[in-house]
Amino acid sequence: MKDRIMGGEIEWIGSFRNNASCQWQEAGTPFDKIRGFLQKKYTYRYCNLTDLFLPNGCRFYHEPTGNHVESTTPECGNAREVLIYEKWQEHFMCQLSEELNCELGEFVFQKKNSDDNLASSRGSHESYLSDKMFNDLLYTAQLNLTATPSTMDPRLNYLILFLITRQIFTGSGGTIIYISDASRNAYEISPRSHFIEQIFSSASTGSRPIINIREEPLADPDKYRRNHFILGDANMADLSIFLKFGTTSAVLEMIEEGICDETLNLLNPSEAVVLFKDISRDLTLKNVPIRLVDGKYYSVIEIQKRFCQNFKRYIDYSGQGGEKLEIAQRWREILKCLQRDDEKVYRQLDYKIKFRLLNDYMRTKGLPLSDKRVRNVDLNYHNPDPEKSFYYLLKNHPHSKFESLVSESEILESGGLPPENRAKLRAYLRSLLEELNISYSMYWGYILFKPVSLLSTTYGEKRLDLPEPHLSSFDSLNFESNYDAIHYLNSLKPGAIIIKLHHSPLIPQEAAHGRAETG
């Protein structure tokens, strides 16, 4: 899919205390207060759910399983857009804690994978709208859960190899503490690797997989599959975020377009999970040999270079430039820099920046890795508040050479508006429902609402399907299936929703085909 929609989710570490003399506690608990505060702020009077879609299409909610607050980007059209909205969410969380601090007590949020004393972890998940071809591919995988070279499709092997090796630019870095054996305490590339136990699974808690096979497209299931990856780390550095989404989408695109380098396959894919963890522990990037189908061993950088070369060849051949060219160039450049441990990586990639920060701190203060002050440095690297964040302390330092891929004004201005796709349509429909005093429940792919006159909770409930994530126009609403809802809204406000009938309703197949081409 050349015009992929993608997005990211952040599960925030949230801590709360009534005042400085009180103990810190999980901030999931006072979520009702947070929600009430936000609902008032955005004057959402009729939203039934605890989930809130913010005016720019970002979603903010409470995740009951892990008892944490979670936020997502809206549907984004490219990696840069994901970066803008992810950074916008950092601003949002800062502002939220500041505003809440006046009203309720003291809140701190951090964007980090971690586990806590309740043994719950927080993820930084990615979603990539994909061609439905992945349905067949992953269905077969589901049948062959024991991954042997003969049963695994080479395309999945290719994807898995990419996913376990991309951590050399996407890793957040982190201190790992072993309670029973302190000699194993270490700084690792991808702390998230400790939570990944399987190659395929539909679980997002418990035995988490490299590839999630849960089928939940949040869009037209006849056209799309959503690839949902939960193995990534929570990043602060612009380049780590940009490349995480950019390169992963690139590899998915090559698979969709029928391009798969079958020499870039693990000889024994069942080793993928162990390799993923071993690579995370190897800060040299040289000491974990990865055996491919040709029987030879390669380093993680050599493998990533080949993925990058494949992508460059693919975009050259398919005549694509723009952001995709930028991704290929930045990818190539960072791999080169990693190979010679160039200074640049210490200001571009999270696990490198943090590695140097922790080393400097430990050396200056004479503290070991396991010391809680050192772990505080690790954790507060991920604070979004520029005044308290150790990432921003380094980035905003007068002598800093950190490069921003997006400007502050882009984050605040572009990030404050919904992207030109379904997110914009959803924003319009929400203001319409609020204006018409209709209570509603809003989801990614549909909206439920109840006619004003009906008191019963579900009887007469109307549903508006929003199956097309690419489009912001009413034309993406299927007229026939949404007729009842559209008719009702138009009866309250004539002309509220106008659908041009020369599109899909008259000749559904041709119209759908045309849409896919012009996309």
Binding site: I13, S15, W24, E26, V108, Q110, K112, N113, S114, D115, D116, N117, G174, T175, I176, I177, Y178, I179, A182, S183, R184, N185, A186, Y187, P191, H194, F195, R281, D282, L283, T284, N287, V288, D341, F355, R356, L358, N359, D360, M362, R363, T364, K365, G366, L367, P368, L369, S370, K372, R373, R375, N376, V377, L379, N380, K388, F390, L393, L394, H399
Partner: protein, 65 residues
């Protein structure tokens, strides 16, 4: 890293990244910045103290197999 160095290495991977960065001679600019870097470390200390150093105990990432 300090703690890893106390441990006898069993593999080539542990702490090797640190070895690499230690073997590098600091550039002029690094030397110049080191004073500032120390100041930065003190700033970090102030922030940790303000939050309370026990804050982190709720969020220890433990190693898994």
């Amino acid at each position: 890293m300090a703690e890893q160095k106390q441990v006898k290495k069993t593999g080539t991977d542990k702490g090797a990244g640190e070895e690499e960065s230690k073997n590098k001679k600091p550039s002029k600019q690094e030397k110049k910045l080191s004073k500032e870097r120390k100041k930065l470390m003190d700033e970090i200390d102030d922030i940790i103290d303000e939050q309370g150093e026990d804050f982190v105990e709720n969020y220890v990432q433990r190693g898994g197999e």
